[in-house]
């Protein structure tokens, strides 16, 4: 049928064909899904805003709690690793060494955690109204960016307090953020879509985060890693970004170029996989929840 021709004849009654909705047992195509997702900018923004408003409205010292988590963890590790075990810290005071990596890692950990629980938490919305479901884990994970910005800003007074000078490489920190964000979204979306059927998976998320944390050079420098394991740490898609982030602020050794590229590649592949699985689960989601 030449539907398109007819549309022009009655353009008052019908909205443009791009707004038309086709429902079938086969589900929607990738292009349609993508276009729809791109149309939900307003919704994504509103949902992120909601996360932030709720989070900051409930606590009097909202911003303070945001900073507290990475700072406390950095302090604990500085006592443990800096004072007791005396892990080398690339010539920096240990807190200054650990904090930037911790800030970036918290972006991953929080983004992953919020994304993975999001679908089950928003069960009511999913069973009562339609919108591209990907918006839910996406907004949950992206809301962690606000915390990240605040805790990153704290690096500057921290540097001042410990008398550490900032590196001229500072702008490079922007390159370190996207792979971590992709990883957080990918892991969040992946666990979220599987936890619709297997509720227990939500319990697994913190466990993965913890293991991954020790496989990432957040609280130790790369040089303490035995030679044979160094490559494993660098293949870890979270490894290079953390090293790069710290290096951008405080001039610690840069990770090799290939590891940054592989980090981008792996995180994007993982993201694609996660979204593919999500799209498979998406159609039956309301029936399972």
């Amino acid at each position: 049928m030449t539907d398109t021709k007819l549309v022009h004849q009655s353009s008052d009654t019908f909205s443009p064909e791009s707004d038309w909705i086709r429902i079938s047992s086969k589900g929607q195509g990738i292009r349609e899904g993508l276009r729809e997702l791109l149309n939900t900018g307003d919704l994504l923004r509103m949902l992120i805003l909601r996360h932030l408003k709720i989070r900051f409205a409930q606590t009097a010292m909202g911003a303070f709690w945001v900073v507290l988590q990475p700072l406390m963890t950095a302090l604990i590790f500085s006592v443990l690793f800096g004072v007791f075990v005396k892990v080398p810290s690339d010539g920096l005071p240990y807190v200054a060494f650990a904090y930037p990596g911790m800030a970036l890692w918290t972006l991953f950990a929080q983004g992953f955690d919020r994304g993975s629980t999001s679908l089950v938490l928003e069960e009511r919305l999913i069973t009562k109204v339609y919108f591209p479901r990907l918006v839910i884990p996406l907004s949950a994970t992206l809301s962690a960016i606000a915390d990240f910005i605040i805790s990153t800003l704290l690096i500057f007074p921290l540097a001042l307090a410990f008398g550490v000078s900032l590196s001229w490489r500072l702008p490079l920190f922007l390159i370190a953020v996207p792979p971590i964000l992709f990883l957080a979204i990918a892991m969040g979306v992946l666990t979220a879509s599987l936890s619709v059927r297997y509720r227990d998976l939500r319990q697994v998320a913190p466990f993965i985060t913890q293991l991954w944390f020790y496989a990432t050079p957040v609280v130790f420098p790369l040089k303490v890693v035995p030679e044979g394991l160094k490559n494993a740490v660098l293949w870890n898609p979270a490894g290079a970004p953390v090293l790069l982030f710290r290096s951008a602020f405080f001039g610690t050794p840069m990770p090799p170029m290939w590891s940054i590229m592989s980090s981008y590649l792996i995180s994007i592949l993982l993201l694609t996989l996660a979204v593919t699985i999500f799209r498979k689960v998406e159609r039956g989601m309301a029936d399972w929840l």
């Binding site: 009654t13 019908f14 707004d19 047992s25 408003k53 709720i54 109204v129 297997y198 227990d200």
Partner: protein
Amino acid sequence: MMPMIEVQGLGKSYAMLQPGEKWSGDFADIAADALHRLMHGQLFRRRKHEIFWALKDLSFSVQPGEVVALAGHNGAGKSTLLKVLSRITSPNEGSALIRGRIGSLLEVGTGFHPDLTGRENVYLAGTILGMRRQEVAARFDEIVAFAEMEAFIDTKVKRYSSGMYLRLAFSVAAHLSTEVLLVDEALAVGDVNFQRKCMGKMGQIAGQGRTVFFVSHSVSAMRTLCTRGILLDHGRQVMDGDIETIVQAYLAHGAKVSDLGNEWTNVTDNFCDPFFQPLSLRLFDEDAPGSPSFQYGSRIVAEIEGKIEASAPDLNIGLVISTPEGTEVFRTFLRDTLALVETRLEPGNHCFRVGLPCRILNEGDYRIEIVALHKQWILEPGKGNPSLPLAIHGGFGTTPYWIQRRPGTIAPELGWSIQPS
């Protein structure tokens, strides 16, 4: 003209789990199930699920501007159809094409968050329901004015009374600007005045030339708002025609349900409310408990079983008896009884029993529904509550005087006397 909505061979099925089988999603259960199947040597055998078709072979098209009533009894597939058309769930067969944006008003308060202010919630719920931010901004004043909430719009929603909350939530939903609207009648909320306003607003929406699907149990609402109807039964499309034909068929259809017996049981955990959740409704003849039918002189007993989770001092439970056309014959409440007027209802399962007056209801078909209120309606009359058909047939009086149904809505047998004057 091209139809606004084209539905072809639409079907939606669910796999029903076997009795005793459940899917909790816990690893422990999954492992236990796998072990069980391993021991019975059927680990790799595909489980046979019974397939239940909630919708089957639906085909129809709707022209722009048509207001279509979806009629049918509970479980006929009305809500499933709305869910499929609004894309909340996807069909297993067939297809539908909708030439425009679609908005669904299936529940009041979707997307509201108690910790946000009224203003923030209007924007949030509006975008969740499919409006763009600018559209919400353009209608914001209108939305707030309709809800009569100007004074409290910057107060957190958790400080609202439930009436205020419902008013604002309805108002957001009612101002959607999509070409197609799916509306559930349960949306008319709040006190009587606001409900009237809600229905008025729906009528206005229907008159704007937009395409509307309207689900309702109320015949009068269907007649006022709709031009056409589609009657569903057990997921099948039984009839499609002008609204009067559908209403008549719907009413005639209602009378047949009495074949199903005199008992309603809450199998799906519906009507969940902490103060009162109905579990079952049963009608029986006190003199002949096994008898399936009632006569004019039968002493009919209605028994409501219900669950109370939160102690509710003001909870009141009752029954409404109405004619198939929806005219109420009478209502009766627990608190009508003097001895029970101040009884506190404690958490737990309770059985409420009442004897219906005999020798009053005239020969004919009635519907009896559970109603409940606690400060406000939990089960409001005429809103698709648990109900049973009640048919009174035969036995026109104690004396042999009447040999057929007497005229009149009710047929009370009164005590006459003759005095010498």
